[in-house]
């Protein structure tokens, strides 16, 4: 099956150049992967290595770190900030920054909570308003950026201060607004878990969709006379996915299993990944981040891309803030302050999103937040003061950016830019 194309009499259009190093089949896929690594195309490897190191270090010091219970709580608490981080990834892809996501998340959550608490609104309309608050902030930002030309660093710094003020203003002299006991948001963020059956069915569906899409791609490429991806490689990957996720599901299932929050977060990550890699919009985001002038001359609506990205970023921030509110059952004056803000931004960078635009992936948010949440959880288990946690987080961030810089050097010397 794999060798079929190598022996075929007609050579695929993309394999015709004699200078190409043939990469057929599973071995070829492995060779190509190693080549990419040597060329500085590290992708997610450093983060995954980082996660393994973190797991080993904490497990040695604190045997409960890798317990099912702790892993469940890591996935649960990582998710809301991860949602915020997803927005940061988008903004970073354009080579811009949003420093105000924390404040915006707090402000949006407070708006929702106050509408429910003081005005007696139902959860759903209040939640929609809360999310729209985020969207509105993003639209304001994009107006400042595209029409007036204020740098994103400046307007988001202004937003950081202003929306923290707005949070205090909305909360008024109460200081803290508690969500009602029976609020669906509370139970969604705290108590809802997939049942074992749901989890395994979902797992099988995910792997089946992956295999089906890969088979379709193989068929289409073969029909178009292009080298198809190796079937063996696809099956191996699908097998690894099935076994890996299956074991994780089993292990988390010893405790409470998958919380709704990480499932929602993962669904958002997959959706954004698809949107970034497979739609025109995503292609244009990468183009604007890579070379804005080239994008403009290609007829891309550059302004529209900025508007959509800033709006999405603030919307994700608002959604994340609302989920955090559900998780903590309340909104207080400290909601979305420094900690949330910096964690969200650091996660995107640690996950491997370049600060210079045009390079990164939605998965960066997921991996980055897992790293940071693991560190936080591990240090908490070891009863280490939060001062140490901030210092460790700072070091990890520095390390991540250093790895990015080194791999960029490797890329430019191996011609991968």
């Amino acid at each position: 099956m794999v060798k079929g194309d190598a022996t075929a009499s007609t050579i695929a259009a993309d394999a015709a150049d004699e200078r190409l190093i043939s990469s057929q089949g599973l071995a070829g896929a492995a060779t190509a992967f190693l080549g990419r690594l040597r060329g500085g195309e590290l992708g997610m490897i450093p983060v995954i290595v980082g996660l393994v190191v973190i797991a080993i270090v904490f497990q040695i010091n604190e045997p409960t770190f890798l317990s099912s219970r702790n892993l469940v709580s890591i996935t649960q608490f990582a998710a809301p900030v991860g949602v915020i981080s997803l927005g940061i990834v988008l903004v970073l892809l354009l080579g811009e920054i949003d420093l105000s996501v924390g404040s915006v998340s707090g402000f949006a959550a407070a708006s929702m909570a106050v509408l429910i608490d003081s005005r007696g609104w139902g959860l759903l309309p209040a939640l929609v308003v809360g999310i729209l608050v985020g969207t509105a902030v993003g639209l304001l930002y994009s107006f400042l950026y595209t029409k007036i030309g204020v740098p994103s660093f400046v307007f988001s710094l202004a937003g950081l201060l202003a929306f923290q003020g707005a949070l205090l203003y909305v909360l008024g002299d109460k200081g803290t607004v508690v969500l009602p006991q029976d609020s669906a948001l509370r139970s969604f963020a705290r108590d809802k878990f997939l049942t074992d059956t749901q989890a395994y069915v979902l797992l099988v569906v995910i792997v089946a969709v992956y295999v089906a899409v890969s088979l379709l791609t193989i068929n289409r490429r073969r029909a178009a006379g292009l080298t198809p991806p190796s079937l063996t490689a696809v099956l191996v990957k699908a097998g690894l996915l099935l076994v890996g996720l299956g074991y994780l599901t089993y292990y988390l299932g010893i405790d409470r299993g998958w919380s709704y929050l990480p499932v929602l977060f993962a669904a958002l990550v997959v959706t954004m990944d698809l949107a970034l890699r497979r739609t025109r919009w995503g292609r244009h985001v990468f183009a604007v981040g890579g070379n804005e002038e080239a994008a403009r001359r290609s007829g891309i609506n550059v302004r529209g891309i900025y508007v959509s990205v800033f709006a999405l970023c603030s919307t994700f921030a608002a959604l994340g803030g609302i989920l955090i509110a559900g998780q903590l059952t309340s909104v207080s004056q400290s909601s979305g302050t420094t900690d949330t803000n910096l964690t969200a931004i650091a996660a995107a960078v640690i996950g491997g999103t370049s600060l210079f635009g045009g390079r990164g992936s939605a998965w960066a948010a997921l991996l980055g937040i897992l790293v940071l949440q693991s560190i936080q959880s591990g240090l908490n288990l070891m009863n280490v003061d939060s001062s140490v946690r901030f210092m460790v987080t700072g070091l990890v961030l520095l390390l991540a950016v250093a790895i990015d810089s080194v791999s960029r050097k490797a890329r430019s010397s191996s011609g991968r830019g």
Binding site: G290, A294, R297, G415
Partner: protein
């Protein structure tokens, strides 16, 4: 200075008449005319500040002319922006190529006009078409799935030219396509220009390099200080005449130098051109 030569009769694709463009107190273009036929390479030459780039930007829709009319494929048009020009069928290869280094060859070729299958990008269809385009140009690109950053200067130029062919344009403008290239790569780009002509496209070639211009163009339009200075049929002109038209005097620094140092070779060049 040589008199303007009548252009051979050809089906005109793009014709500009009486183009004027002012920037504040500067009259960048005064009553400029230019005509390109199908399957014809027209070189646009002139010294720095002669108005070549302004004219290119007027045609590609980056600037709006203050006066004058543009006729494209038989009807009068106004080019409101770069995407207008693209959809009309006027493609421009800018001097800085305007490629995205972080995207692969396929993504760059179809940037801004990606094919779609449902909500998603049709990667397979685009890759197939990319190979077809590159083959019509006999281009040598090892893989269309590597980022542009990994290509050589000549390969980038090839990608930029191939990109101009996406969407079947009628006119392709090349702004200084050989300026940053080595000898072999320059020859490759000139081959590409000839292949564009063979496909019946009108080509406007902007260049400072007289050798390149004389090697591939059918006609040469000279701009000087924002005006049409002269127009030559390439086969009936000499470097000396061209230089005279560009600088505005037959007794100029270039001819003086030529007479002083390379009299013999200049003579041979002229003979060669007249054959």
């Amino acid at each position: 200075m040589s008199s303007t030569v009548e252009a051979p009769v050809r089906e005109s694709v793009l014709s500009l008449t009486g183009i004027n463009k002012r920037f504040g107190a500067v009259q960048a273009l005064t009553d400029v005319s230019l005509e390109v036929g199908a399957g014809e390479v027209v070189a646009l030459v002139g010294d720095n500040g002669a108005g070549k780039s302004t004219l290119v930007k007027v045609i590609s829709g980056v600037y709006q002319p203050d006066e004058g009319s543009i006729t494209f494929a038989g009807r009068q048009i106004s080019v409101g922006g770069p995407s207008d020009a693209q959809s009309l069928g006027i493609a421009t290869v800018f001097q800085d190529l305007a490629l995205c280094d972080n995207l692969d060859v396929v993504a760059n070729l179809f940037l801004g006009q990606e094919w779609r299958r449902g909500p998603f990008i049709d990667e397979v269809g685009m890759e197939k078409e990319a190979w077809r385009l590159l083959r019509t140009l006999s281009a040598k690109i090892p893989s269309v799935r590597i980022p542009i950053a990994g290509l050589s200067g000549g390969q980038r130029q090839t990608v930029a030219i191939a990109r101009s062919l996406v969407g079947n344009p009628k006119v392709v403008m090349l702004d200084e396509p050989t300026a940053a290239l080595g000898v072999a790569q320059t020859a490759e780009v000139l081959n590409l220009v000839e292949r564009l002509r063979e496909q019946g496209l009108g080509v406007i070639l902007i260049s400072h390099n007289m050798a390149d211009v004389q090697a591939v163009s059918d006609r040469i339009a000279v701009l000087r200080l924002g005006r049409n200075a002269a127009e030559f049929v390439t086969s009936q002109t000499s470097t000396a005449e061209l230089v005279a038209a560009i600088t505005g005097a037959s007794d100029n620094v270039v001819t003086a130098r030529a007479e002083r140092t390379t009299q013999r070779s200049a003579g041979a060049q002229q003979q060669g051109d007249e054959q």
